[in-house]
């Protein structure tokens, strides 16, 4: 092979990766000047939701021309990182953010990003979700009737009027009309599930992203009790591209997380939450800085042997996406903590991940999950789709320097009832498809799946530290677990609810009336590989199955 061909052959994988990232980011160079607005806490239809919807649609359109408009959210918003991330952009990407106070100021700057406006019907909440679809396809802003004079002041004209189109209709009829009108023009790589809060309230933090990507918006049900809606849901999942994204969240009124993610997984699609995830149209366009490479805080070498003592070893993990939890709360770094990373952000919001990695303390350790390249449940994933999905997960883990994969399966129960176990067959697939991880962890609450193969353990959580559990009860819980598990070493894996502060967690652990040692997760797994005091167990035929029913 001549030198040129050799160079090309070696460079191709890297070039492909750069191309993929560039394509995913839809921009090559980040703008250095941008604008920031503060979102209020009122997301009701009669309150600030109409103006928020206008601004979010404007954001999605403005950012088609580069990362220009960014929103900060109040402390009550699930995502706590909007201000710290902005400060990161200022510090590491030399961004200057000029504050904007009113929609008028935003329109003065960015109205020319829009080709007009679509009017939604405040009497029909679902019409707003349809309007978001229209906004992306027609590149128009979203307004309710009282905001028409405002946007017309800035030269915008009506393009689509949804008022009266859906009066008195149930959602399945509304979305059938929406699909008849718009589905064929929408992205097949991304669909937005604008669920979450319902009734008089909507929290469409992700709307800018769906508009930016010309996605179909919906909050259709995944619940078998709603057959008309479910038929449309299944049609959407069927017609999306393989391994494509379902982003947002299920509707709290219609179905359950378990129902939706089970169904999505059965199609081999990828869920990324939440409907409230903000600023993706901005964050997507900010690449890693030139001087950055993901480096995890590994405590052991991949082939290192760690011999445990006759002790109780505790390792703590926080999942539920790093941005909505205790990362920004005081106490981080005091004790070893593992943080499950939203791995798909390596393509959708790379600089956000750099923000977390660069802010890591020595005691912070990152792990992959949940289940695959995005949030999925292992058991419903079709066997034939597993390899290609996990190839993508491995690519992400390689970039992010992750050596532990976490699985979670709510397809047959949750932490209250049913089971959250893996079958041996499913575990076989993980061991086969992830030859380089040092171990796997499983569960959300406690679970019963354990194994050890070729020095790589599969350990389920033994304890779920709930946000509302009184400290004295949590202490008694941990002491009870220690009493029930007498063999030493005892490996106690704890899942900490995302918003539980580390300081409170430390307080609980310090109050336990038994000696324990808190260790980083990679050390924990290496020790568990060396001394197997846990019993191998997979899902058994007698394990209960409960299919995630919705209250209504």
């Amino acid at each position: 092979m001549n030198l040129t061909r050799k160079i090309l052959k070696n460079a191709l994988p890297g070039l492909a990766l750069v191309a993929l990232l560039s394509f995913s980011q839809r921009a090559v160079c980040a703008e250095k000047e941008a604008y920031v607005m503060q979102m209020s806490e009122d997301w009701t239809i009669e309150g600030d939701l109409p103006s928020h919807a206008l601004l979010l649609s404007l954001q999605g359109l403005a950012n088609l021309n580069g990362p220009q408009l960014y929103f900060e959210y109040m402390p009550s918003w699930p995502w706590k990182i909007t201000r710290p991330l902005k400060e990161f952009y200022e510090r590491r990407h030399d961004f200057t953010f000029t504050p904007l106070e009113t929609p008028e100021e935003a329109l003065a700057l960015f109205a020319n990003s829009a080709k007009g406006y679509v009017v939604w019907d405040k009497e029909v909440r679902t019409s707003l979700i349809v309007a978001f679809t229209v906004a992306g396809l027609e590149e128009v802003v979203v307004v309710s009737e009282e905001l028409i004079p405002l946007v017309e002041e800035y030269g915008l004209e009506m393009v689509v009027d949804l008022r009266g189109d859906f009066t008195g209709m149930p959602d399945h009829e509304i979305y059938q009309i929406a699909m008849d009108r718009y589905w064929d023009r929408c992205s097949r790589d991304l669909v937005i599930w604008m669920g979450g809060a319902h009734g008089n309230r909507m929290e469409p933090g992700m709307a800018d992203w769906g508009i930016y990507r010309k996605a179909f918006f919906t909050d259709l049900s995944n619940n078998p009790l709603h057959p008309e809606e479910l038929a449309l849901t299944n049609r959407i999942y069927t017609e999306q591209n393989p391994q494509s994204y379902v982003m947002g969240w299920h509707s709290y009124r219609k179905d359950t997380e378990g129902q939706q993610v089970s169904l999505i997984s059965s199609y081999g699609l990828r869920m990324e939450g939440l409907n409230t995830l903000p600023n993706l149209s901005f964050n997507n366009q900010i690449p890693f800085t030139d001087d950055f490479k993901f480096t995890n805080n590994h405590n052991v070498e991949p082939d290192e042997v760690v011999v445990p003592e006759e002790k109780v070893y505790v390792s703590l993990v926080q999942t539920d996406s790093i941005g909505i939890g205790a990362w920004t709360k005081p106490g981080r770094g005091r004790i070893p903590y593992a943080w499950q990373v939203s791995m798909s952000w390596v393509d959708t919001a790379p600089a956000s991940l750099q923000f977390f990695f660069e802010g890591a303390m020595p005691n912070d350790y990152f792990i992959g999950g949940l289940t695959g390249p995005s949030y999925m449940y292992p058991k419903p994933i079709p066997a034939e789709a597993f390899p290609i999905l996990m190839t993508e997960a491995k690519r992400q883990m390689s970039i992010l320097d992750l050596r532990v994969m976490e699985t979670m399966d709510y397809s047959e129960g949750n932490r209250h009832v049913g089971n959250t176990e893996l079958t041996r067959e499913v575990a076989d697939r993980y061991y086969e498809n992830f030859p380089d991880v040092i171990g796997f962890i499983n569960g959300y609450g406690s679970a019963r799946t354990f194994d050890l193969r070729d020095d790589r353990p599969l350990i389920s959580y033994d304890y779920y530290l709930s946000l509302y559990r009184p400290a004295e009860e949590a202490v008694a819980d941990l002491e009870e677990l220690i009493h029930l598990n007498r063999k030493r070493p005892y490996f106690m894996l704890i899942h900490v609810r995302e918003s539980k502060s580390i300081e409170k967690t430390v307080g609980i652990l310090e109050a336990v009336n038994e000696p324990i040692e808190i260790v980083p997760l990679d050390v924990f797994l290496k020790m568990a590989a060396n001394n197997k005091t846990y019993r191998t167990r997979y899902q058994q035929p007698g394990d209960p199955i409960v299919g995630n029913p919705h209250p209504k």
Binding site: S446, S466, R469, E473, E479, H483, Y490
Partner: protein, 185 residues
């Protein structure tokens, strides 16, 4: 009638009325019915409440039916649309019995599950003039390491007005008691 027989007859005449009026441990009828507790009454969010936290369950209820020596007890643990139940019928006239229940739901935060085919050995008796039902339970809890025998002492105490059922549990694996105040539904 000889002297011994005369003494025996005298004893019977005097003792029989006494024996027949001695109190026999049987249930207070107010035990039967549905007893409930909700998360709002627990320490989950209100530190002033007296009951031990119920989380992850939002509501607990106990259905008790007393029929002579037989007592049927169904405990329901509710969280949203999810319900877990534990049902047993015990005989207070015998030393103990083996019952098979649906599962152990008292603490879903910890990795401990009812083993031994979901069997429990239960000794049940009435105390305090029928105002307390005491259950001594032996069961096996399975964890990641092993099966462990666990003893539970559960007392259900009826208030004087019959409107409150205080359930106190001591579990051999737990360092603190669980105390809950149920109201008659």
């Amino acid at each position: 009638m000889n002297h011994s027989a005369r003494i025996l007859k005298t004893l019977l005449v005097w003792l029989l009325p006494i024996v027949t009026v001695l109190p026999v441990a049987r249930a207070n009828p107010a035990f039967s019915g549905l007893w409930t507790i909700s998360a709002a009454e627990t320490t989950t969010r209100d530190p002033e409440a007296r009951s031990t936290a119920t989380d992850p369950w939002r509501n607990l209820d106990i259905q008790i039916e007393v029929a002579g020596d037989q007592v049927s007890i169904t405990r329901s643990f509710r969280g949203g649309s999810r319900v877990a139940r534990e049902s047993m019928t015990v005989d207070t006239s015998i030393p103990s019995q083996v019952v098979t229940v649906e599962g152990w739901w008292d603490n879903r935060h910890i990795g401990a599950y009812l083993g031994d085919g979901k069997k429990q050995t239960v000794a049940a008796k009435w105390l305090d003039g029928g105002r307390t039902l005491q259950l001594n339970i032996e069961m096996i809890l399975e964890t990641s390491q092993a099966e462990t025998p666990v003893r539970v002492l559960r007392e259900m105490r009826l208030s004087d007005d019959g409107e409150t059922l205080v359930v106190i549990q001591l579990r051999s694996s737990r360092n603190t008691p669980v105390v809950r105040f149920f109201k008659k539904a």
